[in-house]
Amino acid sequence: MYQTIRRVAGPALAILAAGAMTVMLAVPAIASHLVVRTSFPSAATVGEGVSLAVNLGTPDGAPLVGATVTYYLHMSFAGVEGEGVIGRAVTDDVGIGAIHYLPRAAGLHEVRIEYRAPGAATVEEVLGTFDVAGGEQLVRSAGGPDIPGINPGLLMAVLGGVWLILLSVAFRLVGIARASGRADPPAGAGPR
C-alpha cells in the first residue's frame, strides 16, 4: 500500500504543480494578483495640463507591458451624473502608462483607471483623485469678425467730409444772398 501511494504521489504532485502554474499563467489579472500604482498630481489648475500616470505590475514585481488602460472621469452636468472617457494609454516597457490631461472644471476630480485584460471577464480598476483650482476663461465667444481698420471712425470721417463739403456749398449760397444788395459797377464791359 505504501508503495502504491509513493508511486502515485510523484506524478500527482507534478500534475498539481503544472496545473497551478498553468492556472497562474493563464489568469494573471485576478485583482488580488496585480499591483497597480497611480501617480496623480496633488493639485492642478484649470487650463494647465497634468500627467496622470499608472504603473501596472505583476505581484512578483514584473512590469505589465503593452496593457491598454482607460481613464474615466466622474462628471456631472445638468443634473446628469456619469463617467466619461478622458483618455487611453498603453503601458510602456516599465509598465507605466500616462495620459496628458487638461482639466476643464474646478473641484475634486475622481478618476477611475480601468484595465481589462484580453479575454478576461473582469476588470482591474484603481481610483484616484486630485483637486483642481479655478483658472482663466479658455473659450471665448467671438460674436463676429474684427477687421482692423474698418471701423466706425473711418466711416464717420468720410461721411463728415462729404457733409462739410455740402456745408461749404451752403456758405456759397449765403454768399449769393448777401451779394444781392451790391449791383455791378456801370462799366458795361462785364465778362461775357
Binding site: 484649470v46 472621469l73 462628471m75 456631472s76 452636468f77 445638468a78 443634473g79 446628469v80 451624473e81 456619469g82 463617467e83 466619461g84 472617457v85 478622458i86 483618455g87 476643464r104 472644471a105 474646478a106 473641484g107 483650482a133 479655478g134 483658472g135 482663466e136 476663461q137 479658455l138 473659450v139 471665448r140 465667444s141 467671438a142 460674436g143 463676429g144 469678425p145 464717420m156 461721411l159 463728415g160 457733409w163 462739410l164 455740402l166 456745408l167 451752403a170 456758405f171 449760397l173 449765403v174 444772398a177 448777401r178 444781392s180 444788395g181 449791383a183 455791378d184 459797377p185 456801370p186 458795361g188 462785364g190 461775357r192
Partner: protein, 331 residues
C-alpha cells in the same frame, strides 16, 4: 432778359441801366427782398447747423435716452458660470447615428414637438427642424437642425439696430422689442433658421400670460424675427432644453465647451473627445460661420433605421385654440 449777364431788360428798369444809374422798382419791393434775404440767411444758417451733426446724432440720441452708450445684450440675466466663475459656452452635439426622424417611435419628431410646446411657437415655425437629406450614395438621413449659434454670425453682422446679438455664452438671441422687421438677417442666415412673424402669431391664448424676454420669446411679437435660442434660461438653471429632453433616442447632447462636457440626459461625455473620436462635422463649414452645433455622421443605424426608409411624419402645432385675429401662414 438775361439777368445772369446783367443785360438791360426789355421794358422794365431794374437795378442797373446802361448809364449806370440805379433805380428801384416799386413792385419788386427791394425792401421786401432785403427782409427775405435776412430770413434766408437765418434759414440757411440754421439749416447748416442742423445738418452738420448728423454723423453723431445716433450717439447723442442713445445717450439722451439711456444716459450711456448702448450695450449689445439687453434683457438677459447674467451669463451662466462654471463653479469657478468662468462663462459657460453652450454647444450642442447631435448624434445622427441615433436620429431616425422618430420613425421608430412613430409620429412627428419629438424634438420639434417639445420645442413648439415649450415655447408656444406659432405655426409654421420649427425652431429645431428635422430635415431629411439625401445621402450621396443613395438613401437618406435625418438632420435635426436648431439655430447654429454661430460664432461669426452673419445675422449679427447685418442687423441695422443690433436687435440680434451674441451673449457672452456664445448664444445668439433676438430682442423683439428692438427688431424693426427689415429681414436682412433672414436673407443673411445660410441655414434657414430664422422665422418671421408675418401676422399676429397664431399661438394659444395662454402665451399672452408669459413675460417676454429675449431668452424666452413668448409671446411672439408681430412683425419681428424669432428663432431657436438654445434655451439659455433653462440651461442657466441646470435643466436641459426641451429638444434634448424629448428625444426618445437621446440623440441630442447639450454641453459646455468651457468645461468640455456634454450630456444627452443619460450619459455624460467629454465633449472634445466625443467630437474627435466620432468624426464630428459642422454644417456648411466652408462659410466660416463657426457654428456651435456639431453633428456625428450617421443615418439612424444605432436605433435600427435602414438608410433607405424615407419619410417622417409632418410636424403639428396642437393648439386647440389660438388668439383672436391670428391666422397661420406657410413657410
Amino acid at each position: 432778359m438775361d439777368r445772369l449777364n446783367g443785360d438791360p431788360p426789355d421794358g422794365r428798369a431794374r437795378d442797373v441801366l446802361p448809364d449806370g444809374a440805379l433805380t428801384v422798382e416799386p413792385s419788386t419791393g427791394r425792401r421786401g427782398t432785403a427782409i427775405g434775404r435776412r430770413r434766408v440767411l437765418h434759414m440757411l444758417g440754421l439749416g447748416a447747423l442742423a445738418v452738420s451733426p448728423i454723423p453723431v446724432v445716433p450717439e447723442l440720441m442713445r445717450i439722451a435716452q439711456s444716459g450711456r452708450a448702448a450695450e449689445p445684450a439687453r434683457g438677459t440675466r447674467p451669463p451662466a458660470l462654471t463653479q469657478d466663475g468662468r462663462i459657460r459656452q453652450w454647444t450642442m452635439i447631435i448624434d445622427l447615428r441615433s436620429c431616425d426622424g422618430c420613425q421608430g417611435v412613430g409620429g412627428p419628431p419629438r424634438c420639434t414637438a417639445a420645442c413648439i410646446q415649450g415655447h408656444l411657437a406659432p405655426e409654421p415655425m420649427e425652431w429645431i427642424q428635422v430635415f431629411e437629406e439625401e445621402l450621396p450614395g443613395g438613401g437618406s438621413r435625418f438632420v435635426p437642425t436648431p439655430c447654429m449659434q454661430c460664432q461669426n454670425p452673419p445675422c449679427n453682422n447685418v442687423c441695422p439696430v443690433g436687435a440680434t446679438f451674441s451673449t457672452p455664452e456664445g448664444t445668439v438671441l433676438i430682442d423683439q422689442d428692438r427688431c424693426i422687421g427689415c429681414r436682412i438677417c433672414m436673407a443673411a442666415c445660410p441655414y434657414d433658421r430664422r422665422f418671421f412673424n408675418w401676422g399676429e402669431a397664431p399661438v394659444p391664448p395662454q402665451a399672452r400670460l408669459a413675460d417676454y424676454s429675449a431668452e424666452h420669446q413668448v409671446p411672439a411679437r408681430k412683425g419681428t424675427v424669432m428663432k431657436c435660442d438654445f434655451c439659455p434660461d433653462m440651461a442657466r438653471a441646470g435643466t436641459l432644453p426641451y429638444c434634448v429632453q424629448a428625444c426618445p433616442n437621446r440623440a441630442i447632447y447639450y454641453g459646455d465647451l468651457e468645461e468640455d462636457i456634454a450630456t444627452n440626459g443619460r450619459a455624460v461625455v467629454s465633449a472634445s473627445r466625443f467630437l474627435a473620436e466620432n468624426n464630428a462635422f459642422r454644417w456648411k463649414e466652408e462659410l466660416g460661420t463657426e457654428p456651435r452645433v456639431y453633428y456625428l455622421p450617421g443615418h439612424g443605424e444605432a436605433v435600427g433605421r435602414d438608410a433607405f426608409t424615407p419619410g417622417r411624419a409632418a410636424t403639428e402645432w396642437p393648439w386647440t385654440e389660438i388668439v383672436e385675429g391670428a391666422e397661420t401662414w406657410s413657410r
